[in-house]
């Protein structure tokens, strides 16, 4: 598999690996994929009072492309508002990493992870307001 330098860099030096406290009110956790598919991404965001993503971290079970895609995503969403983070498309990720066609689904999963994390965060806000 011929991977781009950017992809290899993210694989060899993944950014923001780790976990946030999922019980915290301002943390949203997205868990997407399945072990049987060979791809599972956990993306977590910590959102401040202004609605901006202060922190983002990930853990991934998957190939080099999956790890690189999720590492890149944490860099892309940090500092963005939830609205702007929602706009990130898998094509942005695939282009940045020059993903080979057979690995495009990794960028799709990464986009899903962003949406899942935001949805989880938003659900927690509305739960707390009931």
């Amino acid at each position: 598999m011929a991977y781009s330098e950017k992809l290899l860099d993210h694989y060899n030096n993944p950014q923001n690996v780790g976990s946030l406290d999922k019980k915290q009110k301002n943390v949203g956790t997205g868990l997407v994929g399945a072990p049987a598919c060979g791809d599972v991404m956990k993306l977590q965001i910590e959102v401040n009072d202004e609605g901006t993503i202060d922190k983002a971290c990930f853990k991934t079970f998957g190939c080099g492309s999956a790890i690189a895609s999720s590492s890149l995503v944490t860099e892309l969403i940090k500092g963005k508002t939830l609205e702007d983070a929602q706009k990130i498309k898998n094509t942005d990720i695939a282009k940045e990493l020059s993903l080979p066609p057979v690995k495009i689904h990794c960028s799709v999963l990464a986009e899903d992870a962003i949406k899942a994390a935001i949805t989880d965060y938003q659900n927690k806000q509305s739960e707390n307001n009931e």
Binding site: G33, G38, K59, F61
Partner: protein
Amino acid sequence: MSENKQHIEKLTAKLYDSLTKQVPDIYLNGDKQHRIYGNLNLSFAYIEGESMIMAIKDLAVSSGSACTSASLEPSYVLKALGVDEELAHTSIRFGIGKFTTEEEIDFAIKTILNSIEKLRSLSPLWEMAQEGIDLKSIQWETH
């Protein structure tokens, strides 16, 4: 021929024993006795195969089984052997032959152990397993 066999069996055993004694959740695919000597097909739970291959890039190995080494699909051979679907994507095939040296095996052991540590620290499945979560009980969100 029998010298080759002894040499290969010794190195294969060394690789297998060293890895399984130092790290948990490594599984041998196929029967331990009734297999071609020099073939070690191992599942490294919680670590996906391709990411492992990239991590041990100085070693020539393949994921799945020989027949599916060029494809991304999990191996139908492993499936027929009864390998759990959770482990299907975590398998690596090591081949040891008469030209393999003990130094190379020692190097391989070191490389593989470092990679396991690195990739499990990256793995949400490893994290969940450490927390005592039964991965089979989870409703995974898939496409």
